[in-house]
């Protein structure tokens, strides 16, 4: 019965899924606001200046330029530009509802953790068993590259306790064709009904694989994110 219910959920979800482009956020100069909203602009400025005044790393997601930028004290450190960006809010919630206005206002999210978590293994050397280097310059152990040391998944979610899930997808992981599309919708539907992933808001960024991997590996702990949505 449970399997049947799940199947129904997946089939219903797959049938109901609209084209991804319908949820895409437009980017580029063409989408720059014709009539600025002073309330949102002022709130964005205040939120950003508050974060910039603190001695810590934080991310700013700007839907208008489809960029995710890492800052420290107001200085931009690194920018990731998404090829695709999709945003959504739960409309018929099983849990808490999600208000669109609340989602659109500039908002600071704290305590973000990536799932799956990057695995960082430490090598331990004991001085009693250490050996001098080879005089010829040969090395017996070459450390792995960052990509080898911390392999990045094709998809990961930066999840915030207040209900935001920021899904990052490596462009190479995107599959095309009907079967792949149905599979993708089914996977997203399953992600939606899992009790441990009931995000109220979701952003999906598609980045080049190398950039997605670099973001995954370079995320600071306990991520703070400012969302600036259209």
């Amino acid at each position: 019965m449970r399997a049947a219910a799940l199947g129904a959920a997946l089939i219903f979800g797959a049938a109901a899924a609209p084209p991804a482009a319908a949820q895409s956020v437009p980017g580029g100069a063409a989408s720059v606001a014709a009539q600025p909203a002073p309330v949102h602009q002022e709130a964005a400025r205040t939120a950003h200046l508050t974060l910039a005044g603190e001695d810590r790393l934080y991310l700013v997601l700007d839907a208008d330029t489809r960029t995710l930028t890492l800052y420290h004290g107001g200085a931009a450190l690194r920018t990731w530009t998404a090829g695709e960006m999709t945003v959504g809010a739960r409309r018929l919630p099983l849990g808490r509802g999600a208000a669109l206005d609340e989602w659109r206002a500039p908002r600071t999210w704290t305590g973000g953790e990536p799932a799956p978590r990057p695995r960082m293994e430490r090598r331990v050397i004991h001085s009693a068993t250490a050996t001098p280097p080879d005089p010829s310059g040969a090395v017996d152990w070459i450390p792995p590259t960052p990509e080898e040391a911390v392999p990045a998944p094709a998809r990961f979610v930066l999840r915030f306790p207040d209900g935001l899930g920021l899904e990052v997808v490596a462009a190479d992981a995107l599959r095309y064709g009907f079967v792949a599309r149905v599979g993708d919708v089914a996977r997203r539907a399953w992600g939606a009904v899992r009790p441990w992933s009931w995000d109220r808001y979701r952003v999906r960024l598609v980045l080049p694989a190398a950039e997605a991997g670099a973001l995954y590996r370079g995320l600071p702990p306990d991520v703070t994110l400012l969302t600036l949505l259209p």
């Binding site: 949102h40 050397i125 001098p132 960052p146």
Partner: protein, 215 residues
């Protein structure tokens, strides 16, 4: 009594079964609705056609007063990359080597432990040193299984840090290396190693007081 109880029990079981079925059906419907609502999401309208509500990030002028003025250095310690940036963007990018994250445990003696990690944070360049000399700390001997020398002269090593060193404090530096083939891999004791040509370019662009952001 037993004969009467049996049909009553069977009816109860059927009733409980129906109730369970209704509950599961309700759960399935709820799951369907939940799934559908999430998959449908909320289409975001075109900003321009809506009249526009795109917020401006904090004004560059205001941010500049808080952030770095002029050139600054950014180091991604996990991906082993360095950028020289200014307010206009990236000036140049280079591969580097950062901390190996190795832990060295002193066997016997004081039982000290070192973690060879490049620290996160903001560090101003304290000074530039040409042809720097490395004064090897205790761990440099212990990690090679050698005894810690008692004389200062035995600690001094020339050439290991390349042509230049930018001192960030607490023993951390951005410097050159003899092992350029390992650039891009995490091999250091916490310092940031840069290739010779990139280091020359970097030193030409920065100086004491230049902020270095490590993340």
């Amino acid at each position: 009594m037993a004969a009467l109880a049996a049909p009553a029990g069977a009816t109860g079981a059927r009733s409980r079964g129906r109730a369970r079925g209704v509950t599961l059906a309700g759960l399935a419907l709820a799951l369907c609705l939940g799934s559908a609502s999430w998959v449908l999401g909320v289409p975001m309208e075109d900003v321009a056609s809506e009249g526009g509500t795109a917020p401006d990030p904090a004004s560059p002028k205001a941010l500049r007063s808080l952030g770095a003025r002029g050139a600054y250095v950014v180091i991604d310690r996990t991906n082993n990359r360095l950028w020289l940036r200014n307010a206009d963007g990236v000036v140049f990018e280079a591969p580097v080597s950062t901390g190996s994250n190795t832990v060295l445990v002193e066997s016997g003696g004081e039982g000290r432990t070192w973690t060879f990690e490049t620290p996160r944070g903001r560090f101003p360049v304290l000074r530039e040193r040409a042809r720097p000399v490395w004064v090897k700390p205790d761990w440099a001997f212990l990690e090679e299984g050698r005894p810690v020398p008692t004389s200062f002269a035995e600690r001094v090593e020339k050439g290991a840090l390349g042509e230049w060193a930018l001192d960030l404090g607490d023993g951390y530096m951005i410097h050159g290396t003899l092992y350029e083939r390992l650039i891009g891999r995490p091999v250091t004791h916490g310092c940031v190693r840069v290739g010779r040509d990139d280091l020359r370019r970097l030193v030409a662009a920065v100086g004491p007081g230049t902020p270095v952001y490590i993340f």
